[in-house]
Each structure stands twice: as C-alpha cells, then as structure tokens.
C-alpha cells in the first residue's frame, strides 16, 4: 500500500444542494435522463495486479468469465432493442479492447448514433500500481482506440473496474484536451457525490465536470452486490426518478441508469428494466440525452455560474 495517502480527494469543494444557481435543461426539462450500458471485455487469463485479483478463483474462473461473455453474446442486443423502443441512445461505457474483439457490437451502436466513452482497455486491467506515465498511456489508448473505431472524440471516462489513482481525473482531462481540444475529455463518471453535474478542480485548471452516473442505480451493484429482487429494482428506479423529477421542477437534475448487458438482459430481469424505461420516458419534461450532450450543455450554460457560486460560498466559509 501507498504510505503517503491523501486524507481528502480535493477534486471538489463542499457545495450544499440547497440554494445553488438553478439548472435549466433544454426545453424546460426537469430531469436529464441517460442510460449508460457498460459494454465490457474481461480477459480469461489476465496478468496479476499487485493490489486486486481479477478473478476470485484460479484461472480459468469459468463462472465469472462466462456470465460476462453472456452479456456480449446474448444480452447486448436485448438491451439495444429496448433502448430503440423507447428512443434512447445509449452512452456506452466501453472496455475499448472490445473494438478489436467484438467490432460487430461497436458497429450496431454506431448505426444508432450512440456515444462511446472510455472504461479502460479491459475490465481486468486495473489502474492500481501504475506509474503516472503508464496510466497516461492506458488512458490515451482508450481515447485513441475509440476515435480509430468510431470517429468519436471521447468525452467521458469511467476508470476500468472503478480502479483509480490520485491522478486519474487530471490525466484523462489532459490527454483528452491534448488529442481533441475542448471536445475531448470533458466529464468523469467516477464520482458519486451529487445528483447534478458539478465542476471539478484539476491541476491544469481546465473546465471539467463530474457527471452523475449513480452507483446506487447501477444494475451490478443492485443485483450482484445488494442482491435486490428484479421487481424491486423497478420500484427503486421509479422512486429514484420520481424524486429527481419532483426536485427538477426547481432546478434540473440528472438521472442515469448504468447497466451491464449480463445483468439487466437476463430473462428474469429484463421486464423490470423495460417497465422502468416505459415509466421514465412516459413523462413529459424529461430530456433523454447522452453523457456528452448533458456535459456539453452544462459546460456551456451552467458551469461558470456554478464555479462562481462555489467560490463565493467557499470564501464566505473562510477558505482563502
């Protein structure tokens, strides 16, 4: 373990939810709603990482590998059919090596004008133990691979298997800017501190935001960690939406459903997901968008006001 660990993250200030500058989404929408399908590749025999085992049992860990492969072989197209049905363009959290392994999936998403953002190279290669230059190389690989295969200038990041370093957000924003200027590397999904986008403080001083991605609504957390029953997941999604929709009348909120094609698309679970999409998209004043669209809009219309408010409140609280 590192011995010089920081006590505080330092990427954002304390900024109370009440009395913030109001967010107005396009068309007067109350909630910006996005769906983030994780499309991942886990290796059957990945190299060891000093801090985290990729599989819980000796390789080949068939149970874990095979259910994730199920997501790509079976689950992906089930989920895609539902997103088509409800007029939702997915924002894909992508293990970028999947561009090489399963380009057919990438092509289907491209045809639908879905967004791709980087979720690392493989979900079995962790950031832990990397030097800064190694992490920069991995992040660059992610952004360049997406560009090479899709033509998109990667806007967002979710670190592979949510493995981070102290530099992750800085490096992603720096490499994104280096490659694509203001269009590349503008949001992170790695922080769970808010229900609205928030400005993030980077060492480069670049404008960059945290996008609400919601670990709580993430199907893998719900099903595999919290062991929730499928029909109760539907109840949770509706409650989550209802509250954000109500509060969004005052100031716009963001709701994300992060999914995994090996969880949500199982035959005993997919109905709950479908009913949630039906419910949410059945409301007026919901802006169905992608991560990049929400981030770009926020950066253009709200980011600077937010930053001024944060600084003013921090100054009032005594921060020099």
């Amino acid at each position: 373990m590192q011995t010089n660990m920081q006590e505080r993250l330092g990427a954002y200030d304390y900024w109370p939810y009440e009395d913030r500058p109001k967010i107005r989404w396009p068309g007067g929408a109350r909630v910006a709603f996005w769906v983030a399908p994780n499309v991942e590749y886990y290796e059957l025999d990945p190299p060891a990482n000093p801090q985290r085992k990729p599989w819980p049992t000796p390789h080949p860990s068939v149970p874990g590998f095979s259910i994730r492969d199920y997501g790509n072989r079976v689950g992906h197209q089930r989920q895609m059919a539902l997103l088509d049905k409800y007029g939702i363009r997915g924002s894909v959290s992508l293990s970028v090596a999947l561009c090489e392994h399963h380009p057919e999936i990438i092509e289907m998403c491209r045809e639908r004008d879905w967004e791709f953002f980087s979720h690392g190279v493989y979900n079995t290669r962790y950031t832990y133990g990397m030097s800064e230059s190694q992490e920069r190389e991995m992040i660059r690989d992610g952004i360049e691979t997406i560009h090479r295969h899709t033509g998109q200038k990667c806007a967002g990041y979710l670190a592979p298997a949510l493995s981070h370093s102290e530099h992750t957000l800085d490096l992603f924003a720096e490499v994104g800017q280096e490659l694509f200027g203001e269009e590349g590397g503008i949001y992170t999904c790695d922080l769970f501190h808010d229900d609205q986008p928030t400005p993030i403080r980077l060492r480069s001083g670049r404008r960059f935001i945290s996008m609400p991605y919601s670990l709580e609504m993430n199907d893998t957390i719900v099903y595999a960690v919290n062991k929730v029953e499928p029909r109760h997941y539907l109840t949770m999604l509706k409650r989550h939406f209802d509250r954000l929709y109500a509060e969004g009348a005052e100031s716009g909120t963001v709701m994300c459903i992060p999914t995994h094609n090996y969880q949500i698309s199982c035959p005993h679970r997919i109905k709950a997901f479908e009913e949630a999409l039906e419910y949410i998209t059945g409301h007026s004043d919901v802006w169905v968008a992608t991560g990049r669209e929400i981030a770009s809009y926020y950066l253009a219309h709200h980011h600077d006001d937010a930053l001024r408010d944060i600084d003013a409140k921090a100054a009032a609280a005594g921060r020099s």
């Binding site: 390789h59 994730r68 199920y70 197209q77 990397m130 030097s131």
Partner: protein, 316 residues
C-alpha cells in the same frame, strides 16, 4: 533523495490477445440473435430442460482450491451442513419425483458419481422413473481448477464417468463440473472420456460448439442466475420471489422464441433446497406454469442436444 516511482511490469500494458473474437481459442464469437433459428419438435418456441443436481458434500471437506458454495462452513465436524445437504437425497428428491410425475416432467439427473455409488436405492429409483443421467463430477469437494495436477484430474474424470456409466447403464453423454469450475485441461479430459456436452459455461442460452484437442464438445449452458441455489442461497431471495423470477424468465424466453427462433430455458434444481416442505409448493407452481404449456417442448438435455445438432451440424 528521490523516491522511486512505483510502476507495473510492462506486460501489464501489453495485450497479445487483443484481436477479433476472444482472448482464447475455445469457441467462436457470435451473438445469439444473429444465428440460424432453431426449430424444436412440434415447432414449439421454447425447450425446457429441468436439471436436478444430486450432490454429496463430504464432511471432511478439503476446500481445495476454495470452499465450494453451500458446503461445510463450520469447524469439523459440520453436522448441520453435512446432514442438511444429505436431506436432499433422502427426502427432498422424493417430493421432486412426485411433482415431476404428476406433471409428466422428463428430468435430467446431474449426479455426483460418488453419490450414485453409495446410494443404490436412489439410482434404481431414478432409473425406474426415467430421465437422463449426466455426470456431476466425483463429489462437491473434488473441484477442477487451474494448477491442478493433470493426472490427478484425469483420474477423477475417468473414475466419475466410468462409475456413473456402470451404475446407470446409460451412455452418460453430459458433464457438469462441481461449482461449474474447470481447469485448463477439463474440456480435453471430458472429450477423452467420450463426453459430448458440458454444462459449465453460462455464456449463452443455446447450445454452441466448443473446441478441445480431442475433438468438439457442445456447451449446453445451465443458467446460474435463475437456479434455485443462486437465487435463494446466494441472493437470499424468498422462494416466492424465486418462483416469480423463473416464471418471468419463462415468459420472456417463450416470447423471444416466438419472434426469433427456438430458445432454451435451463432450470437447475437442488433437492436439498427446493425439496424442503416450505419450498416445494413454489416448485410445483413453477412447474404448473411451465410444464403443461402448449408451446413448450420439455425434454432431457441429450434430446435437446440431438435436435440442435441435427440442425446446425456437429457430432452425431
């Protein structure tokens, strides 16, 4: 003094198997919805495979290389788990037999070979009832795993398959590893022993071809996510919730089968769990929903395999 910057070996950022398909050579990459549609007998959109896992959990569990789920957890001798699992083979199975008989279910028996050897009454009863036997390894504490000595594993596979063939008089075409865990050699050893299909890989909902150095196996994926022990023992959902989940899965697959071509519901059951007095009613409700349905072809795994192979090719 400068601090050495920690870093990983360069191997960690190189990807020799980053290529089209998989990072292994076991089977071809393909998506279910893109494949040739399968037609089940009678043009039924859904095949249902009712699999019963009959298991022996040894009291002197070694736990190599890990403790099998649902095995012994207490200090030796763990009488509670030993006897509770044994309950399934003494009591629970007879409730399942009755439920199957009343509904005309044709089950598949996945049995630990050692259990077959030490329970002659049970084997005779299951043979008389009918249904197909597949080999579920030696016992629940003989796991197959990477790093296992090849000769040791070869002997376990050979002994297990031979024992079950002798005791059942059936060809024993299928294999289900304890805990669905394999070594790098397991597929070769299965093929060497004349096994035709393996249920361990849950990466699909239809059979598919799997390469070994000794010829082709077919994977018959035995879904984990809706099996009784996963839902009730791992996820700790109620028996009512499990029944609802199975019915939901059934309804969805039936509809997908109508739209896209034959689908397969693989339902794995454990008599030590679902054979309990307070749970058997939920199994009966599930079977009522499934077994008598006009659009279902309910058959043992080997028959499903044969219909699949006759349409897509592969071994006969």
């Amino acid at each position: 003094m400068s601090l050495k910057t920690p870093s990983l070996e360069s191997e960690y950022l190189t990807y020799p198997r980053r290529r089209h398909g998989y990072d292994h050579d076991r089977y071809a990459w393909s998506m279910l919805a893109e494949r040739q549609p399968i037609q089940w007998p009678g043009d039924k959109p859904l095949a249902v495979w009712v699999n019963v896992s009959l298991q022996f959990y040894p009291l002197n569990q070694r736990g190599v290389p890990f403790k099998v789920p649902n095995g012994m957890t207490m200090p030796y001798p763990d009488l509670r788990h030993y006897s509770l699992r044994d309950y399934g083979n003494r009591v629970g199975i007879f409730r399942l037999l009755q439920a199957f008989e009343q509904r005309g279910v044709r089950p598949t028996w996945a049995i630990n070979a050692q259990l077959a050897e030490q329970s002659p009454y049970l084997i005779t009863r299951l043979k008389d009832f009918g249904g197909e036997f597949l080999c579920h390894g030696w016992n629940m504490d003989h796991l197959h795993y990477g790093g296992q000595d090849r000769d040791e594993e070869a002997e376990i596979v050979r002994r297990s398959v031979a024992t079950l063939r002798e005791l059942t008089g059936q060809p024993v075409r299928g294999w289900l590893s304890p805990a669905k865990h394999q070594s790098w050699n397991t597929p070769e050893l299965l093929a060497e022993n004349g096994i035709e299909y393996c249920c361990d890989w849950v990466n699909d909902e239809m059979p598919y071809a799997f390469d070994t150095e000794h010829g082709e196996l077919t994977i018959m994926p035995l879904a984990t996510e809706i099996e009784d022990q996963f839902v009730m023992c791992q996820n700790l959902h109620s028996e009512d919730s499990w029944a609802t989940q199975v019915k939901d899965a059934f309804d969805f697959l039936l509809q997908e089968g109508r739209e896209q071509g034959g689908r397969l519901l693989a339902l794995n059951l454990h008599p030590w769990l679902v054979g309990q007095p307070h749970r058997i009613g939920c199994l009966e409700a599930v079977l009522d929903h499934i077994a008598g349905h006009a659009d279902v072809w309910q058959a043992p795994a080997g028959e499903i395999l044969d219909v699949y192979r006759a349409q897509v090719g592969g071994k006969d």
